[in-house]
Subunit: 324 residues, 2 copies
Amino acid sequence: MYSFNESREIINNTLSKINLSDNPAELFNPIKYTLSTGGKRLRPALVLMTCELFSGKIDEAIMPALGIEMFHNFTLLHDDIMDKSQIRRNKPTVHKKWNENIAILSGDVMSILSYKYITKCHNDILPLVIDLFNQTAIMVCKGQQYDLNFETLQTVAVDEYLTMIKLKTSALIAASIKLGAILGGANKLDLNHMYNFGENLGMAFQIQDDLLDAYGDLKIFGKNPGTDIIANKKTFLLVKALEIASTEQKVRIYNQLKKKDFDTDKKINEILSVYNELNIKDISEEMIKEYLSKSKSYLEKVSPDDYRKEQLKEIFEILLNRNN
Amino acid sequence: MYSFNESREIINNTLSKINLSDNPAELFNPIKYTLSTGGKRLRPALVLMTCELFSGKIDEAIMPALGIEMFHNFTLLHDDIMDKSQIRRNKPTVHKKWNENIAILSGDVMSILSYKYITKCHNDILPLVIDLFNQTAIMVCKGQQYDLNFETLQTVAVDEYLTMIKLKTSALIAASIKLGAILGGANKLDLNHMYNFGENLGMAFQIQDDLLDAYGDLKIFGKNPGTDIIANKKTFLLVKALEIASTEQKVRIYNQLKKKDFDTDKKINEILSVYNELNIKDISEEMIKEYLSKSKSYLEKVSPDDYRKEQLKEIFEILLNRNN
C-alpha cells in the first residue's frame, strides 16, 4: 500500500508530465504556474489511497485524482481574485502576477480541464463519477458564496460557520475519498462510510487551518502571519470567541474589527489576547479531535481488512501534526 | 420536423421550468436573471433540430441542449466582466447589477451546471459527448484569450481574426450541431459533415454580428449602437479595412483609435466613412455568403433525405435576414 507521501509523490510526478497546450501562452502559463506552486496534494493523494484500499491498485485513479487537484486549484485561483489575496503558497497570486482577466479565464480553463481528467475512467462508473463531481463542485461554490456573505455580517453563528466549511472545504475532501472508493469498486454501503470519513476529516482539516493561521509556525505556513485576523475573516476561532465572549471581550474584539487604519501586529495581539482568555486554542483543538474521532469511526466501518487501512490512518496523525 | 422558432420555444419553455437551487440567493439569482434575459437560443435550437434530423425525435436532446445554452451564457457572463460591458440584451450585465465577485462565482456555477445538463444522455454516447464538450469549451476560452490579446495589438491580420472567431464563436455552434447529431445517432461521416456545416455557419454568424454592430438596425440589436467601433474592437470590418486601406485612410482610422476623449457619434461616423469608401459592407456580406454556401454544401452531404433538411435550411435565410 502507498503511504500518503508516496501518493503525493505520484501526483507531483504526473502533474510535472501532463501535456498542457502552449498557446495562447497568456492562458496556459498561469495554469502551469498554479500547478507548479506546490500545495499539499491532500485531495488527489486521498483519491489514490482510497482506490488502493478497495482495489489494491491505483493506476485507474491517477487521472481522476489529477482532475480533483485541478478543480481545487481552480477554486483557489478564483477565490484569490474574490478575496483580493496577493500571496498563495509564498508566491504572488495569478491575478497579481498577471491580471484579473487572465485569472478569470485561466481559472475557467482549469475548471474545464478538471472535468477532462475526472472523466477519464471506465464507462460503467462514469455517470456516478460525473454526478458526484457535479454535486460537489456546486457545493464548493455555494460554500464560497456563504463565506463571501459572512464578510458583511457582524456575527455568524457557529452552526452557520460549520455549514459553510462543510460546503467549501469538506465536500471536496469527502468527494475525493468517495471518488477513490468508486474507482476501486467499493459497494454502496462502503461508499457512504467513505464519504462520511472524508466529510469529518474535512471539517477537522478546515478548523485546523483556521487555528494554524493564528497559532501556527508562521514561517512555514506559507501565508502571511495572522492573515485571517487582519482580514476580519470569520474563522472558527472568531465565531466561537464571539459566541462565548463577555460583553467587555466582545467590545474589545469589535473595536479591532471596525478599525480602518491599524498596526497589524497590535491588532493580531489584541485579538489573540481575547482568544487566549477564552481558551479558544483548546476549544478548537477539542473540536478537531472530535471530528477526527468521528472520521476514524467511519473508516473503521468499511469492509476492507484493518491492515489495509494503516496508511490511510496515518492521515489523522499527519493532519494533527501539520504546520502548513 | 420542428422549425427553428418551434425549437427555440421548446428551449424557452424548458428553461422557464428548470429547478435551480434558491440558496444562497446571491449565487442563483444572477443565474436565473441571465437565463431570463432571452437571447436567440440559436445553439440549443440547433441541438434539437439536428437530433431530430437523424432520429426523428428530440426528447433526449433537450437536457444536453440546455447545457449548451447554459455554457454559452456562462461565457457571456465572464466575457462581460473581462470586457467591462455594462449592457447585454438591453439589460445591465451581472457584474454591473450585482458585483464582480458574484459575476465570477455565478459564472463558475453555470459552467458546472452546463456539464450537469450536457451529460444527461445515454451512457453509450457519454464519453463522446464529454470529449466533444471538453474540447469545445477549451477552444472557446482560447478564442476569448486571443480576442483579449487583440485589444493591445495595433494590427491583426484577417487570418488571425478568422482563427480567433473559429475558436470563440464557431466552435460552440459546430459542437451544438454535432452534439445533436450524436444524440440522434448519426454515423461518423455524417458527424464530420455536420461539424463542418456548423463551423462555417458559425463563421458567417460572427461576421454578420460584426456587420450588424456597425450597420444593423440599432434599436433592435440589443446593444448600444456602434459599440464595437467605440471600443476599438478588432472586428472583421476593422481588420479587413486596415488590410486594404490606403495610407491616408489608415491614418484616419488610427487617429480615431488612439483618441482617449472623443464624441462617440463623430468617431462612429468617421470610421464608417472609411468603411464606406472601402466597400467594407459589401466585402463582409460577400464573406458571409461564402461561408453560408460552404455550410450549406456540408448539410447537403449528410445522409438523411433532403425533405428532412428543409427546416434546418431555413437557418441560412433567418441568419441572413436577422437584425439582432
